[in-house]
Amino acid sequence: MHERQPEIEEAAVPAVRGRAIVITSGKGGVGKTTTTANLGTALAMRGARVALVDADIGLRNLDIVLGLESRVKHHLLDVIEGGATLDEALVPSKYTESLMLLAAAQHREKDEVPTEAMTALIERLRERFDYVLVDCPAGIEHGFRNAVAGAQEAIVVCTPEVSAVRDVDRVIGLLGNRFKPQLIVNRLRPQLVKRGKMLSVEDVNAILRLPLLGVIADEPEIIITTNKGEPLALRRDGATGAAYHAMAAKIAGEDVAAPTVEARESFFGRVGAFFGGKA
């Protein structure tokens, strides 16, 4: 790019920069933060250096999901405004070496973050980490634009609901072609899909038409692990943990088989389906 000899400062920048991936959805409450925490954990467990950035200024949550709420001393705006260095603000994960969190400012407004500053911050993180996952706030306003600004890739999280798909459709339109968005269908209930009472992954993606990164079933263990502040992906043995690890492998460029979520119906579920199910 530069024809002239690079100056010393430029030469100090590593040639290979990490990938900044924004995790977004438009609609709130579909599981962006949980997805960010688990994907970050799974990527870090593969040995990658991962920074998780909570871009939801004013509604900080990623620290809670990671169980790091008591360790956050500085936040993203501190770094941008010079109140703290990046090293002071980055909080290491309790469980996973090489995973670090940059928390959002809790008592500030999204509008206070200039987009250029946000982009510059993500660039700095890309110099030090293999992956920078940005947890995007709900909505499509300033906070969304900021979260997206520094990213090169996007992962959209969608639940099998009319409202969520509609919002993701809008977000895809706003993202354009630049971010190569991939889809995670979250909170799928295979039993309901089987009985025709929920949109299937195929239904959702017939509309969104994105490369499918993965499918996460609606499991109680996600709520339990979130309660404890221990990302589910710390364990690979369960179906959901394995699904996050499969997604991480796919992000890393491995050829992973197409994700499936089996309907594991309980006896009572079957009885219910037999009597009250499909008309």
């Binding site: 009319v162 459709d169 809008r170 309901l192 025709g196 009472k197 239904d203 199910g277 499909k278 008309a279």
Partner: protein
């Protein structure tokens, strides 16, 4: 009877309902986000109709109406004049059927071209 049984054994698949509602809502969303596409469609629509009848271009209205299960385009195209049938001739697009023949039911399946031409001639002769 089937309806009664359906009602007795629970509602029909709500997943299918969700799918249908989603498709409809997205069609409406996409239309709302593409005013220039609607304008382009309106222009072409007027152009096609104008080949056959004289249209009041200023007063053409195109609207989209949403019903429970479908989206419909409603076009209001005021017609200023219709030429006498004998004066009408396809000015453009020779592929398109002449207005007189437009009412002819479209034959199902492919038809040899020659045969179709002959039929056209046969129809035109008595007129």
């Amino acid at each position: 009877m089937i309806e009664f049984l359906k009602r007795l054994f629970g509602p029909s698949d709500s997943g299918a309902t969700a799918k249908q509602r989603l498709q409809l809502v997205l069609m409406t969303d996409h239309l709302a986000l593409a005013p220039e596409m609607i304008e382009a469609m309106k222009r072409e629509l007027v152009e096609v109709i104008s080949r056959y009848v004289e249209v009041d271009r200023e007063k053409v209205e195109v609207d989209f109406e949403r019903h429970d299960h479908a989206l419909a385009m409603m076009a209001n195209v005021p017609i200023l004049g219709v030429a006498r049938p004998s004066e009408r001739a396809p000015e453009r697009a020779p592929e398109a059927p002449a207005p007189v023949l437009a009412a002819e039911p479209v034959a199902a399946g492919p038809q040899p071209l020659q045969q179709r031409k002959r039929r056209k001639k046969a129809q035109r002769a008595p007129a």
